[in-house]
Symmetry: C2
Subunit: 225 residues, 2 copies
DNA sequence: ATATTATTAGAGTATATACTCTAGGTAGTC
DNA sequence: GACTACCTAGAGTATATACTCTAATAATAT
């Protein structure tokens, strides 16, 4: 593997593990057992590394959220979208952690991320539309769908931060992809009141599969003082 | 005003304005035109400053979210809760920006924040309960209320980050409390399908008052490619 | 074989950051 | 007026961070 690619890969790994803020270019070089000079031969600065990682992230999610326009959408499609988005979030989890700082440090990233958000929101809205077309949820007014899609996006992008900060565990490191996928449960909560009778039971059953396991459940449900 | 209090106040101001990551103890001292030594006479380290600010934040929100148990809840109460929470979020907006890093750097803060989250979630759940008792929304099963409350919390805590990152503006600094309060619109979206006929129109009208102004609306609604 | 280009090592640097240390000033009290 | 507790200035420091520079080595083309 090329040194350049190794730098990207290791950076992502270290960023995810320790947070971008705690990972210096010297750390990355040391981790790869190469010299800082070598690293800076391949990348002009740390921002460039981060930007390239963002481009990969973007590509991955865009690939996942490609919605077929020649047929109806199925429950399996929906499951795939949800699972995939959380997969992507997991693989690039460092990104949302320091999002504001990163966007403030790099205008390219700011603009790129803004467009990316727009595409994701549009995709979510399109999914809701197609769920209605497929008779899985009742049709909704345009405005409501827009607001709901935005809420879904907010829950998805904030779910990991919630787990890391509100989790019973001492450190935020012990989080797994499994925990993260319980976010699907939260997202499916949105659909409940809009489900058609034909699909109601099936979606509720699907949702049950993602029900958080006991530790968190207890945490969430017994928090009532 | 005591130097100690001035340090807390200015720190909060600078953190909110530039982000905790970009504000050093030397900056704070320079801003107050006092010496670094003076600052460190009053606080052992930066973490201590942040922790004390958190305690104030906590106190403020706890005060806002004190729910009366001797009477029914009204729409005005609900409006007050929502407005207040966004006020608090605004006044201490630096906090959620670097939340994960802050919690990783200070175990006291981690534990304090965890308990704080639990209290907030419990309060939201209690509000939903009391909205049902007051006949504003239909009663819901315990489990659904818990999941919905969590979603509300996720939307509230992530709404500002969304505005700052996805906003059309170049920098994230131009955000105002007015923009932030449009988050109320998003939260009220949750209630729509559960509203009782008696209150439906009134809540929808209330929601309309928080409808995002054109720039964002356009941004949100035309994002569909 | 030689010239050229791509890659790498490693020492080094300017700046920043959190924090320390010493010396001295102020305000109130007996 | 001296004692004490509190407060402040300001120079200084150890460490870290992002990044540079030069020289050497490997790969490739001619």
């Amino acid at each position: 593997m090329k040194t350049r690619d190794k730098i990207l890969l290791s950076s992502l790994e270290l960023f995810n593990e320790h947070g971008e803020r705690n990972v210096t270019t010297n750390h990355i070089a040391a981790y790869l057992v190469i010299s800082p000079g070598n690293l800076y031969y391949h990348f002009r600065n740390k921002s460039d590394i981060i930007y390239e990682i963002f481009l990969e992230y973007e590509k991955l999610v865009d690939y996942y959220l490609d919605i077929p326009e020649d047929r109806h959408i199925t429950l399996d499609d929906m499951t795939f979208y949800l699972e995939s988005v959380f997969d992507g979030l997991w693989s690039y989890r460092f990104f949302h952690r320091d999002l504001e700082y990163l966007l403030d440090s790099d205008p390219r990233l700011r603009q790129g991320y803004r467009k990316f958000t727009n595409r994701c929101l549009a995709a979510i809205r399109r999914i809701f539309e197609k769920l209605a077309e497929a008779g899985i949820i009742e049709p909704q007014p345009e405005e409501l769908r827009a607001a709901m899609s935005l809420n879904v996006w907010l829950v998805i992008t904030n779910w990991m931060a919630f787990l890391k900060t509100a989790h019973a565990a001492k450190d935020s490191a012990s989080l797994t992809l499994i925990d993260l996928k319980q976010g699907v449960y939260q997202v499916l909560t949105f659909e409940i009141p809009y489900l058609t009778p034909a699909y109601r039971e099936r979606v509720l059953a699907l949702r049950e599969k993602y029900r958080p396991t006991l530790p968190e459940r207890e945490f969430i449900e017994t928090a009532c003082k």
